[in-house]
């Protein structure tokens, strides 16, 4: 039986959390299919990474080249396509990240392998590969069936397969595949998105606001509340798009990931893109008018009401308690 491949993702010298999630997923699949999991590590001087991954996979295939140091979809694609061709895996797992989004569909098209992005779950049986993925902004899930193929490409949504300790002893295999000089795409640098005066990742209490805040001027009320409970204000992407808060306050897949002791989500519906950045918080409280809002699936405590009614009341109660 052909193997499962899982792409190791790293950035700026560190492995990314998603890598371990992919390994968890890959191990489960390998177990079900009675096959092995191979972690594919493209990088440069990646000894440490391989060590970290040792228990996670049956095999680690290492491609070492200076050009693999930073992600470049062109050179990654070129190398990975070679690996897939030679390894002929049944499934190649890639994280549904900015890397994966660029890489997976391109590989699929290049190699004529069916690919699916942003999968929450994977089933593989005689009927072939099926995945669960979200549609309609998270309001529905779809079970998607792949056309029959010897190999599949899948990107996995972060957070769906919690990272687990492995008990494997990976065989580390060095590949002699080298990166070709990229013709079209040149990585220049990483840049921190606009830096403001507040570092939301370091705060113990974060108050997140979403579209439900309705108007820019309501931000003042939230700022005041956050200040009262010693927290900082963060937000969802639409709030940044509307320029009500700077980019460095955005929590979510394209923003920052926060893990405060307390996260209060105000008027946030709970789209995956946002929850990805805050689900690690110790306690999550959500206030939303819509009882069906997905945020209540992430929160520990919820209030179904108008946040403009709850917030002032909450402010008063907390003031009372503090005295």
């Amino acid at each position: 039986m052909a193997e499962i491949l899982a792409l190791v993702e790293h950035r700026q010298g560190s492995l990314r959390d998603v890598t371990f999630e992919l390994m968890s997923c890959g191990r489960k699949l390998a177990e079900n299919l009675d096959t092995r999991l191979t972690a594919v590590l493209l990088g440069h001087n990646t000894g440490e990474f391989a060590d970290d991954l040792k228990t996670q996979a049956h095999r680690i295939l290492v491609l070492d080249d200076e050009r693999f140091k930073d992600f470049n979809s062109e050179s990654y694609q070129q190398a990975l396509s070679q690996v897939i061709k030679s390894e002929n895996p049944v499934i190649t797992l890639i994280g549904h990240t900015a890397f994966g989004m660029s890489l997976c569909p391109a590989l699929g098209a290049q190699l004529d392998i069916p690919s699916s992005t942003d999968c929450l779950d994977i089933e593989m049986n005689d009927g072939g590969l099926k995945v669960i993925r979200q549609m309609y902004e998270g309001k529905l899930d779809a079970r998607v069936r792949f056309r029959e193929s010897p190999s599949y490409l899948v990107t996995i949504r972060t957070g769906c397969f919690p990272a687990e300790d492995g008990n494997l002893q990976a065989e580390i295999v060095s590949s002699d595949l080298k990166a070709a000089e990229p013709q079209h795409l040149k990585f220049i640098e990483y840049l921190e998105a606009a830096v403001g005066d507040v570092d939301i990742t370091k705060a113990d209490v974060v108050v997140g606001v979403g579209r439900g805040i309705k108007e820019k001027e309501n931000m003042a009320m939230v700022e005041e509340f956050a200040g009262m409970i010693g927290g900082v204000v963060a937000c969802t992407r639409p709030i940044v798009d509307a320029e009500w808060l700077p980019k460095d306050r955005q929590v979510g897949s394209s923003g920052k990931t926060v893990k405060p002791k307390l996260y209060i989500a105000l008027g946030i519906s709970g789209a995956f893109q946002h929850t990805a950045g805050m689900k690690g918080s110790d306690t999550i409280i959500a206030v939303n008018k819509d009882p069906d809002a997905p945020i209540f699936g992430e929160a520990d405590y919820g209030i179904v009401d108008d946040l403009f009614k709850v917030l002032p009341a909450l402010r008063d109660k907390i003031t009372e308690l503090k005295q």
Binding site: A98, S102, P105, R145, F146, G230, G297, I318
Partner: protein, 257 residues
Amino acid sequence: MNIVVCIKRVPQTADAQVRVDSSGKDIEKERLTFDLNESDAYALEQAVLFKEQSGGTITAVSVGHPDTEDTLRMVLAKGADTAIRIKAEDFDELDGYKTAQILKTVIEKAEFDMIFTGCMATDDGYYQVGVNLAQLLGIPHATLVSSIEIGDGAARIKRELEGGLLEHDEISLPALFSVQTGINVPRYASLIAIRKAAKKEIAAVGQDDIDKDALVLNTQIEELFVPPVTKRAEIFSGTPEEVSGKLADMLNEKGLI
């Protein structure tokens, strides 16, 4: 700079009740509003900004059903010069890859320096069509683009990575950019443009022009369902005063305030 923009007409589901229809594979569409996909609006605006900067033409392409013409007309009003509708009704079930193949057959005939797409469609959320298309056309691509500067034969772009980090790249043209929301501020259409757009011809391309049998469908929706509730928050109920009281007490107990 000749630019192709790929757009999609999608149901606006953010505030709507979405229900699975009787086939179990699609949603009930009658009560939904359809409009231009959110990130496509930014893709279009980016194209128009470049056209204003350095001339050229913008061709908008969409694979869609006849009412997509309304959306294409909006796109024409907001700055596209020509619009092509690829008749979705001619091609049975579609997925991201098949859509990309169809788009390729049309776009490869056009002269272009850049292709813009939105980074994802809010209905199926594939994040795929743009990259597939770039690959099929054999041009480089960049996803989640949040800034573009055009230089000589190449573009400097910033991509939005996780954790608030940006990736700065240089990419040679022609290339495809799938843009992230917030990259610009989409414009309104002027009444003059609207009047002109209302009169423009929208080209329709269908199975006569595209070899249907050569298309590959990778995935099929087997079933749509409401996501199972995995975790459920403990909901406080009562008046705002009551729920705030409960919450404040809980926070206090946990030492969070």
